[in-house]
């Protein structure tokens, strides 16, 4: 009996936490189905009207495409740089190493508003106009710390004699990296890339400072739209974002089993 009681209590507690976490998402998803002209929960009636209405708002589709492109570019470049930097940090000693690590990690600590203002200042100073590339650069700085956290974690405790074994069998350093090292830290790298993608796709604060009238990411589009109108189109766009993220996670989990990374090593 003594064992059963706390377990039931724990289950209940967990359930409540899950509800608390999932509730906003469920509210958004359900509200997008309402037949009313305004957002309401619980929805009154069920319709997919707000999804079809999206087709009359090409600016949302444009922003969606832009966000995907920016997130994709960010993920690829940040993962590349972050992985290289992680290897340098874990395996080599160099001058000012701690300082450099802190500097690279600082976007995690600096409020993103401050970072957004700084980027805006910097871009106008060196003369970079609002563009997808400007966004990607900003997001790379923002996401490298995430990539590094995950890749460094998978590199710590890496048995380097495995690389020596490959060398011994005749592999040059490039082959060792791509055939041995990279596959072994794969889960950390992929997890880093996903984090970078989602962080970029999700970013509002930094993007707000960089966007212009023709370069508007989806979160910014939703935000500005909401300032003037508050109809269920917002919830339908948001639902699509949620579903995309969800599908991404499921696909990656199925294909690569990245979930393991977040549990523990091996």
């Amino acid at each position: 009996m003594r064992k059963v009681l706390p377990k039931a209590g724990l289950n209940l507690f967990c359930l409540l936490v899950y509800i608390f976490l999932a509730a906003p998402i469920v509210v958004v998803l359900l509200s997008s189905l309402t037949t009313t002209e305004y957002i309401v929960f619980p929805p009154k009636g069920i319709t997919l009207r707000w999804y079809t209405e999206l087709l009359d708002h090409p600016e949302f589709m444009q922003s969606f495409t832009l966000s995907i492109i920016v997130a994709f570019g960010t993920a690829i470049i940040a993962t590349f740089i972050g992985t290289m930097a992680s290897i340098a940090v874990v395996r080599y000693e160099f001058k000012l190493k701690t300082a450099i690590v802190q500097l690279v990690g600082s976007p995690l600590l600096i409020p993103s508003v401050v970072f957004g203002v700084a980027l805006l200042q910097f871009y106008s100073w060196i003369g970079i106009a609002a563009s997808p590339i400007a966004l990607v650069i900003g997001h790379i700085i923002l996401t490298i710390p995430f990539v590094m956290r995950l890749v460094v974690a998978s590199l710590v405790g890496f048995d380097r004699s495995i690389e020596q074994a490959a060398m011994n069998l005749g592999a040059g350093s490039f082959k060792v990296f791509f055939q041995i090292t990279l596959p072994m830290i794969k889960s950390g790298v992929i997890a880093g890339a996903i984090f970078a993608f989602i962080t970029s796709f999700d970013d509002l604060t930094v993007a707000l400072f960089i966007v212009s009238t023709d370069v508007v990411t989806l979160p910014v589009r939703i935000y500005t739209y909401m300032q003037y109108q508050y109809d269920p189109i917002i919830t339908s766009v948001s639902s699509i974002m949620i579903l995309l993220t969800f599908v991404l996670m499921v696909v990656i989990e199925r294909v690569l089993g990245v979930g393991k990374v977040f549990a523990s090593k091996n």
């Binding site: 020596q164 074994a165 011994n168 055939q179 072994m184």
Partner: protein
């Protein structure tokens, strides 16, 4: 004709020389052990031969060609690591095939050679497994197959058995020797386990503080250690002091060990008081033999096949290991007076 030569090889870490002007010659097909305590430079030397460490001086020559400037992937050495170092993301087959793929060996031949190598290490049928699904001994066998399948010039084994349990260790070492002899490959085996080195080696290089103290066959190393370190490191020794009483025509001299007189050859005897080493198993015990060294049995330990007798004479201890078939351990009681006897030939006179 030596196949692998180290000529004045030096390695320095942070200004300390960990390998000091090492010279070494290994014949083709020979199995040589590097034996020594940790920090003696044996693994460092192996890593220089494999190319994982650069030499700071000297040359390494294999089959007449200097290799010490080549990167490890160009040296054609097969290495087996202490922790196996298998590629965890590849199957057993792919692990073994890796070196052959890098050499662009045709697919059919790869398959043939990998299966042959796995058969040799008695792992046929395990091709599709992943390393984590194998036991330590099996993993080490894969590692051995992976190193041998590329037909390397030299096989390097870095404490390959130290992660295995005692029984498996013995089995594996016999298997390694068997395979080594069958393939006829020149092999270096690094170990800190003297029994292992004595059991498998054609020759042993005993290393201490970055130097080779002695390089010889196991029998020579054990019976005729040339330095103080070798005699203490290999096997156990009793240290006893003898006094020179008489010398005969420069050839022999009479020495007394607390009343036990023996005539030995004079070679190396210079002072009037000399230190000798004596292996515990070279001592015999007698209850009545006035010619032996008079000692008292302090304690005895039954060790299965043999018994260890701890003897006392003049506040000093002497250890004797005697087979239980030679002497019934119940015969002598603790506290009893006995005589220790040994053949004067067994006394090791060691240069300080």
């Amino acid at each position: 004709m030596s196949y692998l030569c180290l000529e004045n090889v030096v390695k320095t870490f942070d200004k300390t020389e960990v390998v000091k002007k090492m010279n070494l010659e290994i014949k083709k097909g020979e199995l040589v052990s590097f034996l020594g305590p940790s920090g003696c430079g044996k693994t460092t030397t192996l890593n220089m031969i494999a190319g994982f460490l650069e030499v700071d001086g000297g040359r390494i020559v294999v089959d007449g060609k200097p290799v010490h400037l080549l990167p490890p992937n160009k040296r054609e050495m097969g290495m087996v690591f202490q922790n196996y170092a298998l590629f965890p993301h590849m199957t057993v087959f792919d692990n073994v095939a890796y070196g052959l793929k890098l050499r662009k060996v045709p697919k059919g031949e790869i398959r043939e050679r990998v299966l042959e190598a796995l058969e040799m290490v008695r792992l046929a049928g395990y091709e599709k497994r992943y390393p984590k699904e194998l036991s330590g001994g099996q993993q080490q066998r894969v590692s051995l197959a992976r190193a041998l399948v590329i037909k390397p010039k030299v096989l390097l084994l870095d404490e390959p058995l130290s992660n295995l349990d005692a029984k498996l260790r013995q089995e594996m070492r016999e298997e390694i020797v068997e395979i080594q002899k069958k393939v006829g490959i020149t092999t270096i085996f690094v170990t800190h386990d003297q029994e292992e080195a004595l059991a498998i080696s054609d020759r042993i290089a005993v290393m201490y503080e970055g130097r080779i103290e002695q390089m010889d066959t196991p029998v020579e190393i054990y019976n005729h250690p040339k330095t103080d370190f070798v005699s203490r490191f290999i096997g156990e020794v009793n240290q006893i002091q003898g006094q020179v009483v008489e010398t005969y025509n420069g050839q022999q001299c009479k020495i007394t060990f607390d009343g036990y007189e023996q005539v030995i050859s004079k070679l190396g005897v210079k002072d009037s008081v000399m230190n000798f080493y004596l292996r515990p198993e070279k001592i015999q015990l007698a209850q009545t033999n006035r010619e032996g060294l008079h000692v008292k049995l302090e304690r005895k330990m039954f060790l299965g096949a043999k018994t260890r007798y701890i003897l006392q004479f003049k506040e000093k201890q002497l250890i004797a290991d005697i087979s239980n078939t030679v002497l019934n351990p119940d015969l002598i009681k603790e506290g009893q007076d006995v005589y220790a006897v040994w053949n004067p030939e067994e006394l090791l006179l060691v240069k300080k």
